[in-house]
């Protein structure tokens, strides 16, 4: 089991008010699964994503990532965990605007301490994998939305993480780009990458093997899609 969340609670304190964001969330994901998390805004899906992504800590409950108990790890260990196990894709791409596609994809490899020559080789490979081999020296401003998101995916995958976390990856894309992106996700999944994707578009969620609904901080399993 690659992700194992048991009885996760997350409370936000706003002044004297305690606002529960996640209530008794238990989610188990096997390696190679493709899971969509659906819910309206404010339902707690981003909070869940942040906890799964080791960007935030749960108030209580246990969380194991790739067999490792994440609760109680230091910031440094969490950073290492993100670097080696997780790839992030955001709704607004989050590319560095002044750097080329290649340099953007190189970033995680810099943090992993990969040598420049190997870094460039692997980043090129990752960009070719997402079909942008001819755009490596383009700046994000010179790329379309769909291309930007594919650069982001190349960046997320370049350090060969086990899990890809996508937060509304198609939120800023037109339907054609969205469809292409979903094809790419399915391909990655078939290559063995575990995908956890937040969306509120039902047709996007349909592409996943499993759909988990989240509402007011509680989750409910909708069951598996037919293959």
């Amino acid at each position: 089991m690659i992700l194992r969340l048991d009885h996760i609670y997350k409370d936000y304190v706003q002044g004297r008010l305690v606002v529960p964001a996640l209530i008794d969330v238990s989610l188990h994901v096997e390696e190679g699964e493709y899971v969509a998390i659906m819910g309206p805004s404010g339902s707690g899906k981003s909070t869940l994503m942040n906890i799964v992504g080791c960007l935030d800590r749960a108030t209580s409950g246990t969380y194991e990532l790739a067999g490792k108990n994440v609760t109680g790890l230091s910031d440094k260990e969490l950073a290492a965990l993100r670097l080696n196990n997780l790839g992030f894709v955001f709704q607004n791409f989050q590319l560095l605007p002044r750097q080329s596609a290649l340099e953007n994809v190189c970033l995680p490899l810099i943090y992993a301490g990969v040598r420049r020559k190997e870094r460039v080789g692997r980043a090129k490979e990752a960009l070719e994998r997402v079909g942008l081999g001819d755009r490596i020296s383009f700046n994000p401003t010179q790329l379309s939305g769909g291309q930007k998101q594919r650069v982001a995916i190349a960046r997320a995958m370049v350090n060969r993480p086990k899990i890809l976390l996508a937060d509304e990856p198609t939120g800023a894309l037109d339907s054609k780009s969205s469809a292409q992106l979903m094809d790419l996700f399915s391909e990655l999944n078939s290559e063995g990458v575990t995908i956890l994707m937040i969306t509120h578009a039902p047709d996007i969620a349909e592409r996943a093997q499993r759909i988990v609904d989240i509402f007011d901080g509680r989750i409910s399993e909708r069951g598996r899609n037919a293959e």
Binding site: G53, D75, K76, A79, A80, R82, F88, P108
Partner: protein, 419 residues
């Protein structure tokens, strides 16, 4: 690290205007320091070369009594127990590693005046010299000839004048072969000597005047040392001039020579002893005087650096806020706290170092302008330049610290949420 530096340059380049404005404080501060230190260096070197060097590196070791040079005016003033400098003493001085050459000479202030035709000249100094004197003291024979071995061996009554005395006495006439009567003894002029490098000190103050013209004279006359007793009847204690290997060796050469000479004094209670003129010491005190005023200026320039540093901090804080989402993203991608800290610190340090380098160039330029307009001597001091650049880097690290810590402490979720 290299990657950080490259990124920092990229960042600076992409915000040219802002970077230049940020660096301005540093540039001005460093430029001021470089300009001031250049004038310090220039002035110091000028003082040193004027007082000490003039390239000759010669040092007078003469008799002193109670801190004042002891000048012999007549035979009654010849002190007891101070022997003539022997050849063996001279050769042991010559063997000192700081000494290039040495000469011993007798000298007197000549109370009588000298006449040639209708011209009379007084206030002359007489020197009884050996065959090393002219070379050691940096004289060359302009007209006529140097003393020959026969002049010494045969006690010839021959005379060499310096240019001042020669010009006064003979004006346009050929001085060679002319006979002058000194204390009733006829001497034949065989040559005119002049300093190889005419050294004209600039007199800018009363102190300068006292330093250079205390012993002003109308001219010098040289005779072979062997002929000295013909005029003055006695062998006399001698003064010594040493030529040091380098300017820095002058003080040591002088001290050691004085020590050797003082050992030859048989009268242990003598109040008249040999000492080296402490020119280096005089230079130092002059330079120190100059430096204290300039160091105050450097402090003022330092304050402008401080202000520049605060400017850098300010801009860096703005930059951190602006780049919140970049920081959040980098953290999400696995950048550690230290990685972010290093990135921003490098950026600040690169920015201020660049400012420092630009400041050095601006300072050198300013020093040249000062030189042109005010005529103050300037010299570029390499250590000052290096220190200035290192200092500007340090300022970047110091004032970049707060913004960098702020950046590295950022919560990735908060940072990513903001857009």
């Amino acid at each position: 690290m290299l990657e950080n530096i490259r990124l920092a340059f990229q960042g600076i380049w992409s915000h040219k205007m802002r970077s230049v404005l940020t660096m301005l404080g540093i540039i001005i501060g460093i430029a001021a320091i470089i300009a001031i230190s250049s004038t310090i260096t220039g002035t110091n070197e000028k003082i040193k070369s004027q007082l000490v060097g003039s390239g000759k590196n010669t040092m007078e070791v003469q008799l002193y009594e109670g801190g004042y040079p002891y000048t012999i005016y007549d035979s009654s003033m010849i002190p007891n127990g101070i022997p003539v400098v022997s050849d063996s003493t001279l050769s042991s001085i010559k063997d000192l590693k700081e000494v290039e050459s040495v000469t011993a000479y007798c000298s007197r202030y000549l109370s009588e005046s000298i006449n040639y035709g209708s011209v009379t000249i007084s206030d002359l100094y007489m020197y009884g010299v050996d065959d090393n004197y002219f070379e050691t003291c940096g004289y060359v024979i302009r007209t006529g000839r140097d003393f020959l071995q026969e002049d010494y061996d045969q006690f010839r009554k021959v005379l060499i004048l310096d240019e001042d005395a020669g010009r006064t006495l003979f004006n346009e006439e050929n001085p060679l072969g002319q006979v002058l009567e000194i204390r009733g003894v006829p001497f034949t002029v065989v040559g005119i000597a002049a300093e190889a490098q005419k050294y004209q000190p600039e007199i800018e103050s009363v102190e300068d005047y006292n330093i250079y013209y205390e012993n002003s004279t109308n001219g010098l006359m040289f005779i072979p040392k062997a002929s000295w007793p013909i005029l003055f009847n006695y062998d006399e204690p001698e003064n010594v001039v040493v030529k040091a290997v380098s300017t820095d060796d002058m003080t040591r050469a002088g001290k050691k020579t004085a020590d050797i000479l003082n050992k030859t004094i048989t009268d242990t209670k003598s109040e008249i002893t040999y000492a080296a003129a402490d020119l280096q010491g005089q230079v130092k005190s002059l330079q120190e005087m100059q430096n204290t005023t300039n160091i105050q200026l450097i402090w003022i320039a330092g304050i402008s650096l401080l202000v520049g540093g605060i400017g850098v901090m300010n801009i860096m804080l703005v930059s951190v806020t602006e780049r919140t989402s970049e920081i959040g993203l980098k953290k999400a991608l696995g950048a550690r706290r230290g990685t972010i800290l290093a990135q921003f610190l490098t950026e600040a340090a690169v920015l201020t170092s660049l400012g420092g380098v630009l400041g050095v160039f601006a300072g050198i330029g300013a020093a040249q302008v000062i030189h042109r307009i005010l005529g103050i001597a300037v010299g570029i001091s390499i250590p000052a330049t290096v220190i200035a650049v290192v200092m500007s880097t340090a300022i970047g690290l110091l004032f970049g610290l707060l913004p960098s810590v702020k950046a590295s402490d950022m919560d990735p979720i908060e940072a990513l949420r903001r857009e």
